[in-house]
Symmetry: C2
Subunit: 343 residues, 2 copies
């Protein structure tokens, strides 16, 4: 019976009539092991496909080399870019990434964290779910903190936690976007807002509002409509905007997806972009450069955020006892393309 039980160090020891210690040392090139013994054991190990059981080592050394990544979703360009960034830095260092998707649910987030802790994950990257954020829950984070497991916030953060965080400067990105529209000469700028309560939504919204204020432009409640970040969630809101008695002459979308949805609706209505209506998105997703017209947007360095977050984690890990949390805020950058360039 070709049992599939993995070969252990004991099996090898039995085969060579020696102790497990000897096998262990032989496999690890310990100098105190006889050259012949070493070679024989190594050869045999290779032959039978021995592979060290890392689980037992984890138990022994209390090192699992695994990290948790807890995010609301992975079906956006930005989120995957962040994960790629984490990966780029951490995979080469031997870390394994455990991805947990919360679907914006508090319960799933709580369970994910608990599971990660039980698995003795060595660090957790967390972008809190909307539900968590809305409700202001934070108890589930206490145990992470208490365990002193490094916890790095990504994008969505709690102000009152002593943890490191890596975020993009959404506020100034949004501000720059709106300022750009104003500088071109657009007068009635609408905003397709993201879900209420999320930092990213609110920061961009604040950027939008404050920029309008700065330039003494009226703030019209009817030009601000919610979306859920998805392209289809922009369709109806945009239609409503364009049917207003006094419709906007520009739209600032909370991300590229909704801006592209808006673009579609505007074109369907026969409006010319950017002549009749200006458009700006957020994210600088790959597609945004190739829409027609190409979409003015705000670049959001997802990969870089992932890499910076990794750095923050490593700092905390290697830091001496007097660890001080760091906050990294990466600048977002306006990318001007055709959809806003009315001349």
């Amino acid at each position: 019976m070709n049992s599939s039980r993995p070969v252990t160090i004991k099996d090898i020891a039995r085969r060579f009539r020696c102790s497990p210690s000897t096998v262990s040392r032989a496999l690890n090139d310990h100098p105190a092991i006889n050259e012949d013994t070493r070679k024989n054991i190594q050869e045999y190990a290779k032959e039978v496909g021995y592979q060290r059981n890392e689980v037992s080592l984890s138990l022994l050394n209390k090192k699992t080399a695994s990290l948790g990544v807890v995010v609301p979703t992975i079906s956006n360009y930005y989120e995957t870019a962040v994960i790629e960034g984490l990966h780029t830095v951490l995979q080469p260092m031997g870390y394994t990434l455990n991805i947990c998707v919360t679907n914006e649910s508090y319960l799933l987030e709580k369970e994910s964290l608990s599971k990660l802790l039980s698995n003795r994950t060595e660090g957790i990257f967390l972008s809190v779910s909307q539900e968590t954020y809305d409700a202001g829950y934070y108890e589930h984070l206490e145990s992470v903190i208490q365990r002193k497991t490094p916890l790095i916030f990504i994008d969505r953060e709690y102000e009152d936690f002593e943890t490191s965080r890596a975020t993009v400067d959404d506020y100034h990105g949004a501000f720059a976007a709106v300022e750009h529209l104003i500088s071109i000469g657009y007068k009635q700028i609408a905003h397709l807002k993201g879900p209420n309560g999320l930092t990213v939504s609110e920061q961009r919204f604040k950027g939008y509002i404050n920029c309008l204020k700065k330039y003494n432009m009226p703030i019209r409640e009817d030009l601000i409509i919610n979306t859920n970040f998805k392209v289809e969630s922009a369709i109806l809101p945009t239609k409503r905007l364009l049917e207003l008695a006094s419709p906007p002459d520009a739209i600032f979308g909370v991300n590229d997806q909704v801006a592209i949805g808006a673009m579609r609706v505007a074109k369907d209505k026969g409006l010319r972009i950017p002549q009749d209506i200006g458009l700006v998105g957020f994210d600088n997703s790959p597609i945004s450069a190739y829409t027609f017209p190409s979409l003015t947007t705000v670049h959001r360095p997802g990969r870089k955020i992932g890499m910076e977050a990794s750095r923050l984690f490593l700092n905390q890990l290697n830091g001496s006892g007097d660890f001080a949390p760091e906050s990294i805020v990466l600048p977002s950058e306006l990318v001007i393309r055709e959809s806003s360039l009315r001349i």
Copy 2:
């Protein structure tokens, strides 16, 4: 000194002057434990934030409840949809997903698999890297097979392995796409092909070729150009196509990204879509429904593939000894939109 060493069962045992066994049983509601003892221990455990060390359990039970997902990239809509599908089924069952990105590199793939096996992952979902596929390497899979760790191929497969696999019927999808273009009346259909050697590229290419053959249409080498799936890789090839003495009147892109790139170039050249040139993509990515004109494409059920792959894994896991690998081929489905509807 507020040590962060996690509380163990032994700590609790010491506190209650009882044996670890009692604590273990108390925490697991074992019936043989005195009611008072149980309550006291459970209360105390909660108070000090005891959390079972799953690593030790993994060692004991040889069950890690973790699964490997090895993919070339996670920055495409399709790949993330697959992962979401896996997640949807497997996370509720208590599995943790270890995501490994290979960047199409054989070496990284090999290392990832080896790592997963060392970590005693209970199953592996693999979409082989292009390098692996090109070179026809397969030795690194032997150890997975030998360990009898369930291995499920996703999309890209090796014909000669006794493993389950879940793939999309790319061939017929491509065939249907081209047939549709022909039925509309397009005569010179170009193909923006994916990278050579990859199953998805080649299957779609084959569908394209065979469809042309079936309808006795000429196969023009100059209308077939390679891309790398990314939107920008479609720009130059499309330009070249459109500058031909006898340019195509339709383009079938290997995915939505390149089709959208082609759309952009065609529009820049002043061509009307679908009147002057028809366009079809592949994937049915969210954005494809909202381009202007909307993009005819072939739906590729990524989420479903992930869910089916999970099912295959579970079948293999629960199957009796006489496991027979299954092959699931999900149909792809033509989604007709504006970009090909010349009337």
